[in-house]
């Protein structure tokens, strides 16, 4: 006992660690209380419309109703396994992955190209920036209706201009091998101008002195791009990639307007599959299960991206 006494002494003089932490927490809370109060309205709405709905989806995913006469019954994870076994769901996932990669890479590449070309501000670049940004302002549904006429087989604008160059006129939206790529074109056309904004902002943040120093050291434009600009733009890249990936899952207006997931499910994306299950098949259980799976995948992806972002920036 007496041997242990001196060792226990320093602990006894200060507050016990638990209490200490609590006190710190209370002090922290006091300091950040106004911030929490300011966040409260958003939190209320999020709880009502987002977390509440998510909770409901979680419950709905556990139940199944077969016919209107049959009672709703608890089926546990049956809905989830039914969704995973559904060829049109796995097809939609594959389509969506293809669509995500096929739209993210070209639109980000184009956006970077635009931003680099138009980084200096003058009358010409301002006009060009506005022109490239214009598709962002057009609602997706309107853009899709427009492209419906561009893609019209035989008589559409696309066939009118490039049809004579091809041996066979493609049925852009009616051929399952082409349709998904056709709708990718709209997405790329629409998003490139949007992502350009982020890259333009990112380019502003590249320190002028570093660029000047590199210039004096004899680094050419390519060297500067490779070793200074691109590394400096890394956070922008990560951010835009996250946005592009989320867009690939959440934008389905064009699928609604142009193809309804067809022909033969070739343009069916995950969100459209969920919609089909819920409102066409009237199968809330399967729709909820598919929603949960999608949500889980997106949350994992977002968490991963934020961690990567945090690591790159050094963290606290």
């Amino acid at each position: 006992m007496s041997l242990a006494e001196p060792a226990a002494l320093p602990v006894a003089t200060s507050a016990p660690p638990r209490l200490h932490a609590l006190r710190r927490f209370a002090a922290g809370l006091k300091a950040s209380l106004p911030a929490y109060l300011l966040l409260l309205p958003s939190l209320v709405f999020l709880a009502l419309f987002t977390y509440g709905a998510m909770g409901r989806v979680f419950v709905d995913a556990l139940y199944q109703r077969t016919t209107p006469k049959a009672p709703v019954r608890f089926v546990g994870f049956d809905n989830i396994s039914a969704v995973l076994a559904d060829a049109s769901f796995t097809g939609a996932v594959v389509n969506n992955l293809l669509y995500a990669v096929g739209t993210a890479i070209p639109s980000i590449a184009l956006a970077l190209l635009f931003a680099l070309a138009l980084s200096r501000t003058n009358a010409v670049t301002s006009a060009l920036r506005a022109a490239l940004f214009l598709p962002v302002l057009i609602p997706m549904v309107a853009a899709s209706a427009l492209f419906l006429f561009i893609f019209l087989p035989n008589v559409g604008l696309l066939d009118y201009y490039i049809g004579h160059l091809l041996p066979v006129l493609p049925n852009w939206l009616g051929d399952p091998d082409i349709a998904l790529y056709a709708i990718m074109i709209i997405t790329i056309w629409k998003n490139a101008g949007y992502y350009m904004l982020f890259f333009l902002a990112g380019l502003q943040a590249v320190p002028e002195e570093v660029m000047e120093a590199a210039h004096l050291d004899g680094a050419g434009p390519f060297m500067r791009l490779r070793h200074i600009i691109l590394p400096e733009l890394r956070p922008t890249f990560l951010f835009v990639t996250v946005i592009a990936t989320l867009n690939a899952v959440t934008q389905v207006d064009h699928v609604f307007v142009m193809t309804k997931g067809g022909p033969s499910n070739a343009t069916n994306l995950v969100l459209f599959y969920i919609y089909q299950q819920a409102v066409e098949h009237y199968d809330i259980g399967k729709a909820s299960a598919a929603t949960l799976l999608t949500l889980a995948a997106l949350m994992a992806l977002t968490a991963l991206s934020f961690r990567t972002l945090a690591n790159r920036e050094g963290g606290p």
Partner: protein, 439 residues
């Protein structure tokens, strides 16, 4: 005297104060309406509802545009689920069975009886071919509003130029194939004008398959029971094989799935010499074709037969009594001979009310536009539109496979077997619940 004058004044004051409370505002009702074909139907609907409101001061109806037929079903279901169903909906006639199974429809029998007429008298106003999609288990659930049949449209100028007589349109599949071959124009391997275009997009594709299957002596589904479809049958195989031959063998029909608007645009622009399309597009063709055109019956292989298309007016379940009554008055007004005839002239759909064709305006119109008679004449061979449990997904199982065939990805036989399997899977729970249930 003074007392009584004051009393009078008081009574008048009280009356004036009570008046706003006594006079109820008009019953406000919504009408959901789709625009499934080409043309300016939405504007015409505005005109129609404006006239109704002007002549019915106690009702204020609002027309709400709800997209395609499929979208209208979805939006109606969403409104019912939300507890705010619209008072009336122009609903694709083949969704009525599915909605009745889901308990989403108001049975109209009692509203008909309250008017002092029998069901037979009420339905007697409409063409007999339409009753199959309006009556379910001997109760009335829908009132035919604008209906259609598929038609064969022919570019008469191009037919003449190819040495064909547009006044003697092809009557059989063999003749149609022959016409299509003669009307197709090629430059080397490239087709510059297609002989025929048949739409295949979700919704239209299933209807065209039903039409071709019927012309081939078959049927699409069990007209008496919503749990059976007949995809994997010789009659449907023959129909799909013929359609596929137009694409793959004769190369007179563009490959791939083509939506309705693309078909009508091709026809209007002279890029397709013939097309099979709904009579609902007739006014659009009449207004836009810069050439002489003809409409004819859908050619037969075995028999002349077409499915009914178009829409009926329904009252969703779960409405308050006053709204239900107001909706019923709106429905009766819209399906009256005069309004029905006006709508038919505006759109190209035929008027389901037989008396519409006896109105002077309609007689006059038909004399000027004999092409509008074809769909009505074709009614003699018309049969109900496919209607099953879960109509849309069951129909899609077939459409997805037909699209694969038209794209050269699958042979008709294996495609139909796959469609049948998928449809049976969707229908299984309903069959287990009804036809397979042991007493």
């Amino acid at each position: 005297m003074l007392f009584s004058r004051r009393l009078m004044l008081g009574l008048a004051m009280a009356g004036a104060l009570a008046f706003p409370a006594l006079a109820e505002g008009p019953t406000e009702i919504d009408l959901f309406f789709p625009v499934p074909v080409d043309g300016k139907l939405a504007r015409d609907m505005g005109t129609l509802i404006k006239e109704f409101n002007e002549t019915h001061s106690d009702i204020k109806a609002t027309a709400v545009y709800t997209g395609s037929y499929d979208d209208t079903l979805i939006k109606t279901r969403a409104a019912i689920k939300a507890g705010k169903p619209p008072a009336a909906v122009i609903m694709s006639a083949n969704f009525l069975l599915d909605m009745q199974i889901e308990n989403e429809l108001t049975n109209l029998d009692s509203l008909i009886a309250a008017d002092g007429v029998t069901k037979e008298q009420f339905l007697g106003q409409f063409f007999p071919a339409l009753q199959g999609n309006a009556v379910i288990n001997r109760s009335v659930y829908g009132v035919p509003f604008h209906n259609s049949t598929p038609l064969l449209y022919i570019n008469a100028d191009q037919a003449k130029e190819a040495g064909l007589d547009p006044n003697k349109p092809p009557q059989t599949w063999a003749e149609l194939t022959d016409w299509a071959k003669k009307l197709t124009k090629r430059e080397g391997d490239k087709v510059t004008r297609w002989g025929i275009a048949i739409p295949c997009a979700y919704d239209y594709c299933g209807w065209m398959m039903e039409s071709l299957t019927m012309s081939n002596g078959g049927r699409y589904y069990n007209e008496e029971f919503g749990g059976e479809v007949y995809y994997d049958t010789p009659s449907m195989l023959g129909a799909l094989t013929w359609w596929n031959d137009l694409v793959a063998k004769h190369k007179v029909h563009a490959p791939g799935a083509t939506p309705g608007p693309a078909v009508s645009t091709s026809f209007i622009s002279g890029n397709a010499a013939m097309m099979m399309l709904s009579t609902g597009s007739l006014t659009y063709v009449r207004d836009n074709a810069k050439f002489a055109y003809k409409v004819a019956f859908i050619p037969r292989n075995v028999r002349n037969a077409v499915p009914i298309g178009g829409a009926s007016l329904i009252i969703p379940a779960g409405l308050e009594a006053d709204k239900q009554k107001a909706a019923w008055r709106l429905i009766k007004w819209m399906t009256s001979p005069e309004k029905s005839a006006w709508w038919s002239r505006a759109t190209g759909y035929f008027a389901p009310n037989m008396a519409a064709y006896k109105t002077p305006d309609m007689i006059d119109f038909l004399n000027k536009n004999p092409d509008a008679k074809t769909a009505v004449e074709q009614l003699d061979v018309a049969k109900p539109w496919f209607a099953t449990y879960k109509t849309v997904p069951v129909r899609k199982t077939l459409e997805d496979e037909v699209m694969l065939v038209l794209n050269g990805k699958k042979q008709p036989k294996e495609a139909l077997a796959a469609a049948q399997k998928a449809a049976d899977e969707l229908l299984k729970p309903y069959n287990a619940e009804t036809s397979l249930k042991l007493p």
